[in-house]
């Protein structure tokens, strides 16, 4: 199925019609409900609302900090499943944006694509790095010489030899094989063998 065929199929479904009485009644009913809601909203004291929100959020925040700390302790390796999923997604994206992918960052909310403006194929060694900061881990596929921002740091990622990855931050340099904790970050890296 092609994209235009899919679009035609999707557009063939129209929202069902409603009778004239519905359209006549809806505006008045909505305006009536809106007035009530505004009145209720204005009557609620602002300070008390903030207090309720803060009181409800505090235990959740504490639990979150505790859990994030535990997650940070665990996530220091690049798992095989993570590696193959990253490779698959980057490979698929390469067909969508041929020669324009500078990096793909796997954020907790989903993949973020960094495209180069020139449109020239990188033609460099693909690398996978993982950076954990503040209990949140982000993985990125980039190419040797790629620059990206991860964990609040501007990083340059380089291939060193056939197997090692070097990460250069503003105030540190790190290579695979060294201790993973560097300036509040936990780092892991791997050279990708598969061509993208």
């Amino acid at each position: 199925m092609t994209d235009p065929e899919l679009d035609r199929l999707l557009k063939s479904v129209h929202p069902p019609g409603r009778d004239a009485d519905y359209w006549t009644a809806f505006p008045g009913e909505t305006a009536r409900r809106a007035r009530t809601q505004r009145f209720v909203k204005e009557r609620r004291p602002m300070g008390r609302r903030w207090f309720v929100v803060l009181a409800a959020a505090l235990p959740l925040l504490l639990a979150g900090v505790f859990l994030l700390g535990r997650v940070q302790g665990r996530r220091e390796r690049i798992e095989p499943a993570e590696l193959s999923a990253a490779l698959r997604i980057v490979s698929e994206l390469s067909t969508l944006f041929p020669g324009r992918i500078e990096a793909v960052v796997f954020e907790p909310s989903g993949p973020r694509i960094v495209l180069n403006e020139s449109g020239s194929a990188p033609g460099r060694q693909p690398l996978l790095i993982k950076v954990c900061s503040g209990g949140v881990c982000r993985t990125a596929v980039t190419f040797s010489g790629g620059r990206l921002r991860l964990g609040g740091e501007d990083l340059e990622v380089l291939a060193r030899g056939d197997h090692d990855v070097m990460v250069l931050g503003r105030s540190f340099g790190w290579t695979t094989g060294q201790p993973q904790d560097v300036r509040g970050l936990r780092l892991a890296g791997q050279v990708l063998e598969d061509p993208l």
């Binding site: 199925m1 994209d3 899919l6 679009d7 199929l9 999707l10 557009k11 063939s12 479904v13 129209h14 929202p15 069902p16 019609g17 409603r18 359209w23 809806f26 505006p27 008045g28 009913e29 909505t30 305006a31 009536r32 409900r33 809106a34 007035r35 809601q37 505004r38 909203k41 994206l93 969508l96 989903g110 993949p111 973020r112 694509i113 495209l115």
Partner: protein, 185 residues
């Protein structure tokens, strides 16, 4: 009805902002069809579309002070409707009752749930909410990726990625045979 007699939209918005419910009702009447279309595309249910449309208008009423009047009121309420429907969809996803809702949903009298329309709605229901919103904005509303990104408050590349992923999923679902309950793989 004095306010309804105001023909230009900026005057209606100004009157509604100062608390005139009749002016607001007139604004609702002018944009209700468009808002219902958006909420139906997002929810796939006639009853839910009505509830979400009303919620969107009430939100607009509460936030009228924030509407600076630089753009069209229609574009502003469209954005609110889409995001209200998106939040609604995410909330029911979190509760995990989407498929139960589909089984019980009131798609409307014109929709044959066993037929093509039913299959398309079921396929849209199986997208994640962000992907569905991207499809609704670009395919049904005709926005380009940059405009859709503006409505959704995310990067254009994120919209492109969501659309690409959604298309792939929709093609897989709609190309397959429907099962006995009218659902597709």
């Amino acid at each position: 009805m004095e306010s309804a007699a105001l023909s230009d939209e900026p005057s209606l918005v100004e009157a509604a902002r100062s608390g005139d419910p009749e002016a607001f009702a007139e604004l609702v009447a002018r944009h209700q069809k468009m808002v219902h279309d958006v909420t139906y595309r997002m929810t796939g249910s006639q009853a839910d579309a009505a509830d979400v449309a009303q919620e969107a208008f009430i939100r607009a009423w509460r936030e009228l002070d924030r509407f600076r009047g630089e753009g069209e009121f229609g574009a502003w309420i469209h954005r609110i409707a889409l995001n209200t429907a998106l939040n609604w969809l995410k909330a029911i996803r979190r509760r995990g009752d989407l498929h139960r809702r589909w089984a019980e949903s009131d798609t409307g009298p014109d929709v044959d749930r066993e037929g093509l329309a039913g299959r398309v709605l079921a396929a849209l229901d199986r997208l994640d909410p962000d992907a569905r919103a991207a499809i609704v904005l670009t395919v049904y509303e005709g926005l380009n990726h940059a405009q859709a990104a503006q409505v959704l408050g995310c990067a254009e590349t994120t919209v492109s990625w969501r659309i690409w992923r959604a298309r792939r999923r929709l093609k897989a679902i709609l190309s397959g045979p429907a099962d006995r309950e009218g659902r597709t793989p």
